[in-house]
Every structure is written in C-alpha cells, then in structure tokens.
Amino acid sequence: MTGATARHTPGPGSAARHTPGPGSAARHTPGPGSAARHTPGPGSAAHLTHQGLIYGTDEEFLSATVPFCLDGLEQDDAVLAVTTAANIGLLRGALGGTAEQVEFVDADDWYRAPGRTLGAYHRYVDRHTADGAHARVRVIGEPVWHGRDRLETAEWTRYEAAINVAFADCPAWIVCPYDTRALPADVVAGARHTHPELVAGPAAHPSDHYTPPDTGRRSWERRLAPVTVDGREAVLDFAADLSEVRAFVAETAGALGLSGERAGHLVFAANEVATNAVRHGGGHGRISLRRAGRRIVCDVANPARGGVEWYTGYLPPGRTRGRGHGLWTVRQLCDLVEIDTDAGVTTVRLHLDL
C-alpha cells in the first residue's frame, strides 16, 4: 500500500483543527498535503479528494475499495459505502468482521435527486467531522445511471462535477465506482471529466480528461432541455405581489396531479425563485407550469442581470451566512433544476416527478 506510511502521520490540516481558535480559517489554509496530491492518497484530511474508479470486474472493484475501507478504519475515518446491492454483498464478504464498522447504503435509495443527494453527503460529512469525532470521512459513492433519461444523465454528470466545488474544503475522500459492464460509454467518459483522479487498485493517478468546474466553465453550461408539453400550459406574469404566484402554483400543480406535499414543495421553491426575480432580476417575471411526461415542469423567467454559475444551488450554505440559501433549498425540494441565461432572460426550470 503505497503512501500508507505518510497517511499515518496526521496532516497539518487535521492537527490545526484540534487547536483551539478559528478552526474553519485553519481548514481553508492549504496544507503541504494538498500540494503532494499526486502521491496516491491525500496527505491532508482538510480537503476533498474525489476519485473515479472505473472497473470491469468484481476483482477490480474490490482491489480498490477494500484497502480504501481498511485504511480508513485504521486511521479512524468514518467510512460510508453507497453502492449496488451486489457490490455491498461483495464488499461485506471481503471485509469480513470489519464490515460492521462501515456504513452501507443501497445506491438506489441514496441517489434519487442530485441536489438532495449532495445535501445528504454534506450532512454526513458535517455530522461526522463537525464535533471532531472523525478527522475525515471516506465515501464509496456509486451513482445510479439505470432508468435515467438524457436530461437526468446529463444532470447527474454535472452533479459529479459540482462535487469538486461543493466539497472543496471538506475533509472528505470520495471514490466513485463506474461499472463498464453495465454503463453506456458516454457515462464512463463523463467519469473521466468529473474526477480529478482515477483509481486502479490501491493506487491513484490524475485524470487526463478532468474538467474543473470553474475553468472552462462553458463545457459545464448547458441550454434548457426541450420539453414536450402534455395538455395546456398555464402562464402567469408577476411583479411584487408573490401571493399571486403562490396561489397560481398551488392551484395549477394540484390540477396537474401533484400531491399536496409535493405541491407545497413546488410552491416554496417557485416562491424563492420568483423572489430572486423581483428583488434582483428586474422586478417582474413570468411563471409557467405544464405537465411533461412523468414530471411537472415549472419555469420562472425574468430579465437577466448578469450571469449565473451553472453550479448555483449546489454549494452547501454556511449555517449563518446571510444569503445563498435560496437555490440550495430549491434544489433540495425539487427533483431536477435547470438554470439558463439566454437572449437576456434567465430561466430557472424546476422539475418535480409525479
């Protein structure tokens, strides 16, 4: 296990966290460990390590994930494995008695909506590291790709890209397995773009195709996907009085077949986006709702005031920070969110599954 010796020495990041004082400031200082990122395994626990594991056999899966788990347990990291039922069985078998110390979650239960999954990972990291219980968390996170349409596949790929910015300062080491036996070639190709490093066995190397979220961001931006409208589209122009928007969304969503609870989520989300429109986007906007296949699709459009980063709403909000909660919450409540600025109009598109 190359690099194991180095990893037994607590990195400067983790040492700083135990020093009384502003721990968060200390976490933001890059330690020498992060500079030495090209050695297999991260030296600093205070930064994200996000690796793709492209495997074609059970042996390839286990040869990377087993040492990852064992090494983590040895270093007292919290270890979470979110993967297929079959892989959970394989991993449990290979880990034997130590499997009890690993938390296993079925990927089908975990990867339901990109915003919510990212939020769940964020809470997991926070829960295990905030009070100093663990210096770092290790995650095996195998996204679900079956049953996804083109829009969902594209957004889950962007979710993988967003991980790099959302968890940049988190003491998390995430390995994302991609099974070449089951996945389409474009999904596997996506993994090479979204992961700074790729793993083979216990070793890691930089991905030649890695596309960072902030450089060359054109490659992560995307126009709204076309939707097929079933039936009538309901439209409302709004200005300062958002009680009209809330009443419109509640009534229309109900008529389109959304359940009471989900309609409540949509009302809340649409109100937040409309609030942004009237406060920061020209003071007025247009909201439209329609049914498109198995989804309710709600657009909130307003005159654009500057660009919006493609990963807006994927960054976990600071607990007490004044702003930045709006689109985060919207992504937690909706199943899919698209944001696009085109021809002077910013559109936030909310998808809720029926």
Binding site: L242, E272, G326, Q332
Partner: protein
C-alpha cells in the same frame, strides 16, 4: 387546561367583547392592560351598560385618569351610578375570606339590579393580583373562575379578568386561563392584508403568534416583532399554528433572532408544518443551538 389548538378561536378583540363573554386577559406590559381596561369600560358605558371595575394595587383615581386621557369624562356616569370603580380590598375582600359562592351571588344581584335600573346590561372587570397576596380564600380563585361562568353564559353580562403574566406562575396562569371560555386578543404588533403578528399566550407563557403569509415583503416586519419579543422575559415561543406560508427570508429572521439570544435563553418554534421543518433541516438551521422546532405543544 384549555385546548391550545383552539386557542385562537377563543380570542376576541376587546372592542368586540359582548354580553355572555367571560374573558381572560393575560398581559405582560402595563400599556396593554391599560389599553384593554380603558376600551372595555368605555365600551360598556357607550352601550348603556352598568360597569364595575375592581382595581388592585392602584387607586381607583388612576383608572379614572385612564378614561379621561382617552377623552372621556367619567364624572356623570359615576354620579348616576352607571360606573363604579373601587378596589378588591375595599369591596369583596373587606367582608371576610374570599368566598366564590358569595361572590357569584353578589354578581347575580348586580346584573339584576343593573337591568332593574334601566341599563342594557352589566359588565365587570377585575385586576386579580390580590390572589398572589396572603389573602384568606385566595386559594379558591380557580373554583370561582369556573363557578362564575353561570353568571355570564347566555346572560346580559360580561367580564374581563386581568392577570399579570409577569407575576403569575405560568402553569397557574394557564390553569386560570383555561377556566375562561374566552380570552382577550392582544393588540397585534403588525397587521397587513396577508400577515398578522400578535402577542399570545401558550400554556401560560408569552408567545408570538404568526398568522398568514410571511414573504420577502413582510420578513422585516417579522424581524421587528421578534425584536419586541426579545424584550419579553424568558424563552421566546413562536406559535406557527396560524401560519399559511413562510419563505426562507422569514425563516432566516427567526434563526437570526435565535442566534442573538443571550446565553441561557432559547427560541421555541411550535406547530411548524413538516414541510418547513424539512426546509430548516436541509439548510442546517435545525442545528442552531438556541432554537428548538417542534410540531406540538409550546415551550418544554
């Protein structure tokens, strides 16, 4: 104990207090007591009712001063006997231990006398602070508050019993409150077409009641009302049972107030919908140390 879920339905504005009412006023500041007492007395005189006021710990002259400063001259009503302002010590406590049955009988008589004298009805208000002193029979006040309902229910008479929430123990106050069929609605701190923010009482404790919609246009009003609530003693309870909608800006106002509370004080948000508890969870606001959020009863 009153059924707290119907708390709001019991409340009525003092201006709308009417014959048949037996209302509890739990107040936490002098201005509020004065406002309600003044409006109730003057309202009765205007309706041609006979009015009795039992002060406690203050001279009757002070109550008459409230009426004058409200623009009314109480002298003619005092002269013809339509208005009587006295103290508990000088009236029903002067004759011996407090006796609920005797007091109920006296009030029946006052109602009958008022009608006989040509008044349209009878209304009475009393400051109940004497019950906290070492007065013989004070322990029977609860019994009285229940028995006296027969005087007012369906009759041509009404009453407002005044309890100072700063002096009465919260549990005792909740018990007294529960013996009244109704309560006086506190004056709202804010009121618009969409939102009303009013002081209230839950389980004998001061609460801020949020009724209607809070959005970006009214979040500042909520923040201001919470600022007022920070001046109340003890923990802050925010009663969301009448909430129709609150956006993130409104929830943020709650969280920011909770974070500013001094050591040892907490904010309790009660009867928040599961959807909004979920929102607070996903934003991480459920982990603010000074804040508790729950679905059911008030401060624990």
């Amino acid at each position: 104990m009153a059924d707290m879920t119907t708390r709001a339905d019991r409340e009525r504005l003092v201006e709308e207090a009417d014959q048949g009412d037996h209302l509890c006023l739990a107040f936490a500041d002098d201005a509020e007591q004065r406002r309600v007492a003044t409006a109730y007395v003057l309202g009765g005189l205007e309706r041609g009712e006979r009015v009795m006021y039992f002060a406690d710990g203050r001279a009757p002259e002070q109550v008459l001063g409230w009426l004058r400063e409200a623009g009314a001259d109480p002298a003619p009503a005092l002269e013809r006997g339509q208005l009587v302002v006295t103290t508990a010590d000088d009236s029903y406590l002067a004759v011996g231990p407090f006796d609920p049955d005797a007091m109920v009988a006296t009030l029946h008589q006052e109602v009958a006398d008022s009608l006989a004298a040509g008044y349209t009805g009878f209304r009475v208000s009393g400051e109940m602070g004497w019950a906290l002193r070492d007065v013989p029979g004070a322990d029977r006040l609860g019994e009285y508050e229940t028995k006296v309902n027969e005087v007012f229910a369906g009759g041509p008479a009404s009453a407002i019993c005044q309890y100072d929430a700063r002096r009465f123990d919260a549990d005792a106050l909740a018990a007294f409150d529960g013996r009244h069929p109704g309560a006086v609605a506190p004056e709202p701190l804010y009121s618009s077409g969409l939102l009303r923010l009013a002081p209230s009482f839950r389980a004998g404790r001061r609460a801020l009641r949020v009724v209607g919609d809070v959005d970006y246009q009214s979040a500042a009003a909520l923040a201001t009302a919470l600022e007022t609530a920070m001046g109340w003693p003890g923990d802050i309870t925010v009663d969301m049972s009448g909430l129709d909608f609150i956006d993130l800006a409104g929830v943020r106002a709650l969280v920011q107030t909770a974070e500013r509370l001094p050591e040892g004080r907490r904010m309790h948000i009660v009867e928040l919908t599961p959807m909004l508890r979920h929102v607070m969870h996903v934003v991480g606001w459920d982990r603010v140390p000074a804040l508790t959020v729950n679905a059911g009863e008030g401060a624990e």
